[in-house]
């Protein structure tokens, strides 16, 4: 049995069991290693990707659930050789120590901005509440998220100036 998956704008025919977690397919079959395997129970968020612009925890999501939807991983977030403003903000803020959770943090902030381009500090904290960081980078991550709001806003302005 094969199914068709759209990941980072590309269609893939895959001969996998429909119950396979999406994370395994992304990392093993498609060699997309942006999403990480963390808890395996949907608790930490390290495995997050964007599906139709919304955050999704792929370690608990069967691959069949993503069929017919548009999957974007961290690997596909950059556009035309330019990093996504959220990625740029995390680099600019140097918001990494061990870095294992960053995939989930970036994806979750991206999903937040897709929904609300000008979130308050409290809204950022709420959105990131269920993304776990174990090495204590929380302050830098929140700074990066706030920076991302600004970078994202100015990126949105760009086409108007051109």
């Amino acid at each position: 049995m094969t199914l068709t998956l759209t990941v980072n704008g590309q269609e893939h025919e895959l001969a996998v069991s429909p119950q396979t977690p999406l994370l395994n397919v992304l990392r093993n079959d498609l060699a997309l290693n942006g999403p990480k395997y963390g808890c395996g129970l949907g608790e930490c968020g390290a495995c997050s990707v964007l599906i139709d612009g919304m955050a999704a925890r792929t370690c608990v999501l069967p691959v069949s659930a993503a069929v017919g939807h548009n999957v974007i991983t961290l690997d596909g977030l950059a556009c035309n050789g330019q990093l996504d403003p959220v990625q740029q903000a995390f680099i600019d803020a140097q918001a990494a120590q061990c870095g294992y959770c960053l995939n989930g943090m970036i994806i979750t902030v991206r999903a937040l901005l897709n929904h609300n381009a000008q979130p308050s500090a409290q809204q950022i904290r709420t959105a990131l509440e269920h993304n776990l960081c174990r090495c204590g980078t929380h302050v830098e991550i929140l700074q990066a998220a706030r920076l991302a709001v600004d970078l994202n806003a100015s990126r949105l302005q760009e086409p108007l100036h051109e």
């Binding site: 919304m54 955050a55 999704a56 069967p62 069949s64 659930a65 959105a127 509440e129 269920h130």
Partner: protein
């Protein structure tokens, strides 16, 4: 005629004219008891209507009250139905409802002529015949629309008695008849229908609609469906005729006595009675109706001459301008049936007896000519197998009947009236009760040509069935596929009478005067038509039907228990009481040869496996749907096993059972099973080798399946690939391991009666009931079982139970859902595996939803409708229900105090998906736990099961996916978490007890995970 001209022909009967798109919808609320007893109308009196009881429903709802008539008008049909359900109405019972309607008309007010038994008389006979107040209106529901304006009333609907309907409407609205127009919603013109057979419930619906339209000042649409069958029941008989005869030793009828209860053979519409607009007639005795002196227009008429003849009719003050031909047909039916009975009882040829009493050369010549044309002989030769394509010949009974009438000419009641003689052949399917009018020969001495083909079709439609002219069609409740919604045009001409198998032979004796065929079927043409069928039916079955119509259901019932029909009254339509002991006694007749108390059953001879190409693709496809509805594969497939090869284990309180291989493998499967063996297993729970099966196999439900569906299922299973399997041996404790003990169990608890649709319910309900009670075997999981493992019924039906360590929640009024279910929610849940106000299907219900995905939408809707009825659920989620749900979700955002251990577990493991962060998330649970029925249940089982093993979308793609935590959480943690969930999301419920123990139990798949009762 202007009927139908203003309106373009509609393709679909159910479509509403565009001009009336703004119409509102009306639903009537009838009194609990109303009844026409043959003389007067009785009903409960209305005391009060509480209009505030529908105040909570959205939109403007108007309550129409006129005397005892109550109706609700709303902007949509669903809303009107809900409002009618919710409206609080108080009635005063005028009399206790007695089931014993007067069995005979009391003729005490009549003075009999001096009846002297002639000295030679040998035998005397007395019989009573009836005529229903309402005939069938067809097999599909339809719209009836009324638009009342100041000086005009327009009705769109279906009527076959426009004259009577207009009269009712005129009386109702006080408009003159010429300001009332009737239009047809489908292409069948009113005048093309037979007018002489009597009214149908379309007239009652039209009067209801008109009354409500007048009250609200806008067009009102009424949905004419099976609910109007209640009117049909309540109105009972419109006419009763009592006949007596004394026979001389020569066989001659020495005395003939005819009494007719009413001069008018029709009963006004229910709405007219309830609103007080109809007036009960004063009964007076018809003066001078002695001997055959028929100088009064309304007096009964008979073409025969008897030595001592008495014809009487009670007259009424003229409340109804009825079609006089109705009475003519009623008279002819009673007289011709009675003469046939007399002839049969005295062993005379029915035609010879009639000729003996005719003093009319023209009539005798006509009868002889028709008899010769038909090659009249009795009895008929047995049916040859070649002409019986759809059933085996022994299941078809053949019969022939004769009837004669002479219609009085209305101006001068003399000899020139139209004479007509009829001979009809019928074939009766003994199993289904369907009657096919296979041949009709009509001779008429004067008047326009008789269109025999159309007569044949009209009679077939209106007297024999619910617009199902072809033999071999199944009743509606077991039809599959979406094609069932295509409406069959009713009686739209002889060309439509395409036949499958039978080519009806229609011949005609040349009439004296050839005139162009009229498109109106008058009473003169139909007069002997009902009697001729009754006589042919008697010839075929030996059962006398003394009241039309002769529908398949009545014929089937009569063939099963002949005593019901011999009374000449319609069979009681109430559901049979579920008396198990009596059912057990009846089993002996069902199972055939072996007495049921004897535990041994013979083996059915093994057969070679039927060839895969033996069955048509259509049959196999139907069987595939039947298998999907019955969800065979869910039980007959082991985890990760091959479909239908069996081996799945079932934990029961009596031990472990394994499902069997139902692929057509000849050694380990059912390859050697004949259909007879298969049917016995499905209906009686007996394996091919004669051993008893355990009721974990729900033959108790499958017994309800129709024959056609079982045959299709057999065809489907036999056409699948044969796969060999290992035999697994059941592990049951003694004495349950002794299979033969199941014979006693069956006698006690198994009712193998096939499904009977409830005529008081809609087609949708009956379809849903057929699927849910039979193939769907919902109650196998959702009804509690007694200590012997038998499903409880009555108020315990659908009361919830435990299966495989899961609670199957109650589907009746005991439902613990925090927000009440609606029919729409149930449909969403069953069709898509998810309802916004209730959450997702999981556990053993998930594969059920996956099986339902194979079924057409109509079937899933039907099941939802049936379950909603058991729950007394509204059609749609009301605004109140949605608001209540929102309130529950809002109040559950705060954590529950004092349960920190559970809270920490919840925040760490569950909150990421089960708490809304304000940002839409693809993988989160879409329904709040505050709306989850399991958390509100009295039992924690489903919550613990979900925590331990998760919720998996294996069966329903795109629905819910939750990991199991059995490897991460200890029993203490599971208990803490469940305690916390209960406190936070179901704060109005008492805490669960002994959660840790329950968690430990449910982790053990082979121990004590099944309660016998909740």
């Amino acid at each position: 005629m202007s009927e139908g001209q203003r309106l373009r022909r509609q393709h679909h009967q159910a479509s509403i004219p565009a001009a009336l798109a703004h119409s509102r919808y009306g639903v009537v609320v009838r009194p609990p008891h109303y009844h026409w007893d043959g003389e007067r109308f009785e009903s409960d009196r209305l005391i009060s209507v509480d209009r505030s009881s529908v105040g909570s429903l959205p939109g403007a709802i108007e309550v129409v009250v006129e005397e005892d008539f109550v109706g609700v008008v709303a902007s949509s049909l669903a809303l009107a139905i809900d409002a009618a359900k919710q409206l609080k109405v108080e009635w005063q019972s005028v009399r206790q409802p007695t089931n014993s309607a007067p069995d005979s008309v009391k003729f005490t007010s009549l003075k009999f002529s001096a009846v002297k038994k002639s000295p030679q008389s040998q035998a005397s006979m007395r019989q009573q015949y009836g005529w229903p107040s309402r005939m069938h209106w067809g097999n599909s529901p339809g719209w009836v629309i009324a638009d009342y304006r100041q000086h005009q009333l327009d009705i769109w609907g279906e009527t076959v008695t426009p004259l009577a309907l207009k009269h009712d409407l005129s009386r109702l609205t006080a408009l003159p008849v010429n300001q009332i127009e009737l239009y047809c919603l489908d292409q069948t013109h009113v005048s093309r229908q037979a007018t002489g057979l009597g009214r149908h419930c379309g007239d009652d619906a039209a009067v209801d609609a008109a009354l409500m339209s007048k009250a609200v000042g806008a067009p009102v649409t009424v949905w004419l469906d099976a609910r109007y069958a209640k009117d049909k029941e309540a109105l009972g008989q419109a006419q009763r005729m009592t006949l007596e005869a004394d026979l001389a030793s020569s066989g001659e009828i020495a005395r003939y006595h005819y009494q007719q209860a009413n001069i008018i053979g029709e009963v006004a519409a229910v709405g007219l009675w309830l609103s007080g607009k109809a007036v009960t007639a004063e009964l007076t005795t018809e003066a001078g109706a002695t001997e055959a002196s028929n100088n009064n227009d309304a007096a009964p008429f008979s073409p025969y001459v008897f030595r001592d003849q008495y014809l009487a009719s009670r007259s009424q003050s003229n409340t109804l301008s009825s079609d006089p031909t109705v009475v003519d047909i009623q008279q002819a039916f009673a007289r011709e049936s009675f003469l046939d009975e007399v002839a049969r009882n005295s062993e005379q040829d029915p035609i010879a007896l009639r000729i003996r009493h005719l003093d009319d050369a023209r009539g005798i010549a006509l009868i002889e000519s028709v008899a010769k044309r038909a090659e009249w002989t009795l009895p008929l030769s047995p049916l040859s197998p070649t002409s019986a394509p759809s059933s085996s010949p022994q299941d078809l009974l053949r019969g022939r009947g004769f009837a004669y009438s002479q219609l009085p000419s209305r101006d001068q009641r003399e000899a020139p009236g139209v004479r007509s003689a009829w001979i009809a052949d019928v074939v009766v399917n003994r199993i289904t009760g369907e009657v096919q009018l296979t041949r009709l020969i009509v001779g008429q001495d004067t008047g326009p040509d008789v269109d025999t083909a159309r007569l044949q079709q009209t009679l077939q439609t209106r007297v024999l069935g619910e617009a199902r002219p072809l033999l071999g069609q199944s009743p509606a409740f077991d039809e599959w596929g979406d094609g069932r919604n295509v409406l069959v045009p009713v009686a739209s001409g002889a060309g439509e009478l395409a036949t499958r198998g039978y080519q009806p032979a229609t011949q005609r004796v040349p009439s004296s005067f050839n005139q162009p065929a009229s498109d109106v079927l008058t009473g003169a043409e139909l007069s002997p038509g009902v009697a001729v069928i009754a006589n042919a039916l008697f010839d075929a079955t030996g059962i006398r039907f003394r009241q039309p119509p002769f529908t398949a259901k009545r014929v089937r019932q009569a063939l099963q228990e002949p005593t019901v029909e011999s009374a000449g009254r319609p069979a009681k339509l109430q559901r049979p009481a579920r008396r198990r002991w009596l059912a057990a006694a009846a089993l002996t007749t069902m199972a055939g040869t072996v007495a049921i108390a004897w535990p041994w059953k013979g083996a059915v001879v093994p057969i070679a496996r039927p060839a895969a190409n033996l069955y048509s693709a259509d049959t196999i496809e139907r069987g595939r749907l039947v298998a999907a509805a019955g969800d065979c594969a869910a039980c007959h497939t082991a985890d990760n096993g091959v479909t239908n090869v069996g081996g799945r284990s079932f934990e029961t309180p009596f031990g472990t059972l394994y499902s069997t291989n139902i692929t057509p493998d000849e050694v380990t499967g059912i390859g050697q099973w004949s259909y007879a063996a298969f049917e016995r297993a499905m209906r009686h729970g007996i394996s091919r080798d004669g051993s008893h099966l355990y009721p974990a196999f729900p033959y108790t439900a499958f017994a309800k399946t129709s024959d056609t569906d079982l045959q299709a299922l057999y065809a489907y299973l036999m056409s699948q690939p044969a796969v060999s399997s290992d035999k697994t041996v059941n592990d049951l404790a003694f004495p349950f391991s002794v299979r033969s003990l199941m014979a006693g169990w069956n006698a006690l608890y198994h009712d193998p009666t096939p499904f009977q649709p409830d005529p008081m319910q809609s087609e949708l309900y009956n379809r849903g009931a057929y699927l849910a009670e039979g193939l769907g075997h919902c109650s196998a999981c959702h009804s509690p079982r007694n200590a012997m493992g038998a499903e409880k019924s009555g108020k315990n039906y659908f009361a919830g139970a435990f299966v495989d360590g899961w609670e199957a929640p109650p589907l009746n009024a005991l439902s613990r859902a925090p927000v009440a279910w609606s029919e729409t929610s149930l449909y969403d849940y069953l069709r898509h595996g998810e309802s916004a106000l209730h959450g997702v299907a999981s556990g053993p219900m998930a594969p059920v939803v996956a099986g339902l995905a194979e079924l057409p939408e109509y079937d899933v809707r039907a099941i939802a409708h049936y379950v909603a009825t058991q729950m007394q659920a509204p059609t749609d989620d009301s605004e109140i229900a949605v608001a209540r749900a929102e309130q529950r979700v809002a109040s559950a955002t705060l954590s529950a105090p004092g349960l920190e251990a559970g809270e920490r577990l919840f925040d760490g493991a569950c909150a990421a998906c089960h708490v809304a962060t304000g940002v839409p998330t693809f993988s989160s649970a879409s329904t709040s736990l505050a709306l989850n029925t399991n958390i509100h249940s009295d039992h924690p089982d489903n919550v613990i099961q979900s925590i331990l093993s998760g919720v998996h979308a294996d069966h329903v793609p795109g629905v819910g996916s939750m990991p199991g935590f059995s490897d991460s959480f200890s029993n203490t943690q599971v208990a803490d978490l469940a305690m916390y969930l209960r406190a936070r999301f179901a704060p109005d419920k008492a805490p669960w007890q002994q959660l840790e123990q329950r968690s430990a139990d449910l982790r053990q798949p082979h121990q004590n995970n099944t309660h016998s009762t909740p």
